[in-house]
């Protein structure tokens, strides 16, 4: 079959398979290299501990006595990972799942592109554009976060919708809703789009179901998993502080159009929005229904917040909008390339190729795959030797890039958290000290050593392992900046 064939068949499935395999090999390689070079931060340890605790009598808890993660985010999808983790209890399990989930999304996306653009070359260009996209790379290279399932599940939902496979659509959307509470808003938006496309009943169901789930998750499910002593409000409400200071103030503020204008359209955010949509050549805005139903909900979540990481969007924050932007781009290409009843293949290919080239230019892969990017970390052996000296299980407070390499049976904290009850403290005096500055980190090490309650167990290559003296008093939490909780 030629690339211009209007009825993609077996050859197209070969394209899909190639894209998926190439993506999987590339992403697994990048994640394993990140692990080997100690480039993974503390949140991998936190997610692994949640799965480990679930297998040992807890319920998605990070530390003993702590509330379940469901009190933070309604993400029961993590429970689906528990059986896999029971079979392969290693942090690498989560890293490989992360890589495979990111790559697997190209399968429904490529099939969707074939369905909408009707040409293999154009569909392959869109598949490649997804694999090299900067937003995906940010999410992929973050330690581990459940939003990595969004591209796969939403692309599967879009494909099911286009083919009117309602059972598959429902299954994909239910799973997406289990990833995180914010999926509810995106599902409601998809409902608006489906309604506008003529699928009135399915659209209304998606809209009502998505909004209901969002409300139930935030007001009932999440508070039920928080400890009674904790604040019962949504723990991330402060991200939307531009609308008000309390949860109810924020909700009231969102009814005020002037507040939206003030919060959403600041010069900084407008620039960031431009950068985000320019990567898709603004094609998602080719139709009003697509803009309102597919782009607006995810856009609103990102830019109504005053969290600059969300506005980026960097880390995993762009992962929910990403599949919607690709779907909206495909619909934009189809609209522009089909002014009449026939699709103009040349136009579709030109626009898809243009999106690929712009995404390629904006990609992080060149940096990641350069010899310098793939260079091994010379301090790896020293770090492993130091970690091997820490007995397990023990309570350990370690530098942010070392925590995930400690055994899951231990109570793991990243410095300066958890020092008050820790038996060991593992410092990296020349590496990443987040959330402390290098100077604060070295000052903390100095204070602990001078306190008399800690003794130096080992040191080398910039690493220092402290052990609490057996008879020393339990020290107060050392002064320093409050550790900034990673965004949830």
């Amino acid at each position: 079959m030629t690339s211009g064939s209007p009825t993609p068949g077996r050859g197209a499935w070969r394209d899909t398979a190639w894209l998926a395999v190439a993506g999987a090999v590339l992403f697994v390689t990048l994640k394993l290299h990140q692990w080997q070079t100690f480039g993974v931060h503390a949140e991998l340890a936190e997610f692994e501990s949640r799965l480990h605790s679930t297998l040992h009598g807890g319920f998605l808890t990070r530390h003993r006595g702590e509330a379940s993660f469901l009190g933070e985010h309604v993400s029961p999808v993590l429970l689906l990972l528990v059986p896999l983790y029971a079979l392969l209890p290693s942090p690498l399990t989560l890293l490989v799942v992360q890589a495979l989930a990111a790559a697997a999304a190209v399968v429904p996306l490529h099939r969707l592109a074939l369905h909408l653009l009707e040409r293999r070359a154009a569909a392959a260009a869109i598949g490649c554009a997804y694999l090299v996209s900067r937003t995906l790379s940010y999410g992929l290279m973050y330690d581990f976060h459940m939003e990595i399932f969004y591209p796969l599940l939403f692309c599967a939902a879009f494909l099911a919708f286009e083919r009117r496979r309602w059972g598959l659509l429902a299954a994909a959307l239910v799973l997406a809703a289990l990833v995180k509470e914010d999926a509810g808003l995106a599902i409601a938006g998809l409902g608006v789009y489906a309604f506008a496309r003529g699928a009135r009943r399915a659209g209304a169901l998606m809209f009502a179901g998505g909004l209901s789930w969002l409300i139930v998750a935030v007001t009932l499910v999440s508070p039920a998993f928080r400890h009674a002593a904790e604040n019962r409000g949504y723990p991330f409400a402060s991200y939307w502080a531009g609308y008000g200071h309390t949860q109810s103030e924020i909700l009231r503020g969102m009814l005020n159009p002037l507040a939206h204008a003030r919060v959403l359209f600041t010069p900084r955010k407008l620039g960031q929005m431009f950068d985000l949509f320019a990567g898709y050549l603004f094609l998602p805005f080719a139709s009003v229904a697509v803009t309102v139903g597919l782009v607006l909900p995810g856009w609103f979540i990102l830019y109504s917040s005053d969290n600059p990481i969300m506005n980026g969007p960097i880390l995993y924050y762009g992962l929910m909008l990403l599949p919607f932007l690709f779907y909206a781009t495909l619909l934009g290409i189809r609209r522009l390339a089909r002014p009449g009843p026939e699709l103009r293949a040349g136009w579709a290919l030109a626009l898809a190729a243009a999106v690929l080239l712009v995404q390629l230019g904006n990609s992080r892969l060149f940096r990641q795959l350069s010899p310098a990017g793939l260079r091994p970390n010379q301090r790896t052996a020293a770090a492993r030797a130091m970690i091997a000296r820490v007995p397990s299980p023990a309570q350990v407070s370690a530098q942010v890039d070392l925590v995930s390499h400690l055994p899951a049976a231990s109570e793991r904290y990243f410095l300066p958290e958890g020092l008050e009850g820790a038996s060991f403290a593992l410092f990296d005096t020349v590496g990443n000290a987040w959330p402390l500055s290098p100077e604060q980190n070295r000052a903390l090490l100095g204070r602990l050593e001078a306190s008399g309650t800690w003794e130096r167990e080992a040191a080398g290559s910039g690493f220092v392992l402290l052990r609490r003296r057996p008879t020393g008093p339990v020290p107060a939490t050392p002064p320093g900046p409050a550790p900034a909780r990673r965004a949830g």
């Binding site: 070079t37 100690f38 480039g39 900067r134 620039g271 431009f274 950068d275 320019a278 990567g279 040349g346 136009w347 030109a350 243009a354 080239l357 712009v358 995404q359 390629l360 230019g361 904006n362 990609s363 992080r364 060149f366 940096r367 990641q368 350069s370 010899p371 310098a372 990017g373 260079r375 970390n377 010379q378 301090r379 770090a383 890039d401 070392l402 990296d428 020349v430 590496g431 990443n432």
Partner: protein
């Protein structure tokens, strides 16, 4: 864990030599006979380069550069080619060549 040494090269470094080569070609074409095939080939190369550079420009927050490269990509697109007088193409090629060369001068990384 922090890695020592200079940061790894980005796509900007990789694109420098092809960008200069294309800049030279575009500048040279301003003074050369412009056959239909030569014009089509040059425009295809300029269009691909401009789209890649537009992507690089977004990643670096250079919005004016993005617009410039997007304009070059539109002007040189091979699918719906613009029809200008030869003298107009000569001026455009010279402008594009100067911009490409200037935008890839060392020290801009």
């Amino acid at each position: 864990m922090a890695k020592k040494g200079a940061p790894p090269p980005s796509l900007v470094g990789l694109l420098r030599w092809p960008a200069w080569a294309l800049a030279l070609l575009a500048l040279g074409s301003a003074f050369a006979p412009l056959s239909r095939d030569f014009l089509a080939g040059t425009h295809l190369a300029l269009c691909v380069m401009a789209l890649l550079e537009a992507g690089v420009a977004i990643g670096r927050g250079r919005r004016a550069a993005f617009f410039t490269y997007a304009a070059v990509a539109v002007l040189t697109n091979p699918f719906r080619p613009f029809v200008f007088a030869v003298q107009a193409w000569r001026l455009l090629h010279a402008g594009i060549g100067l911009w490409l060369a200037a935008d890839h001068l060392p020290g801009r990384d």
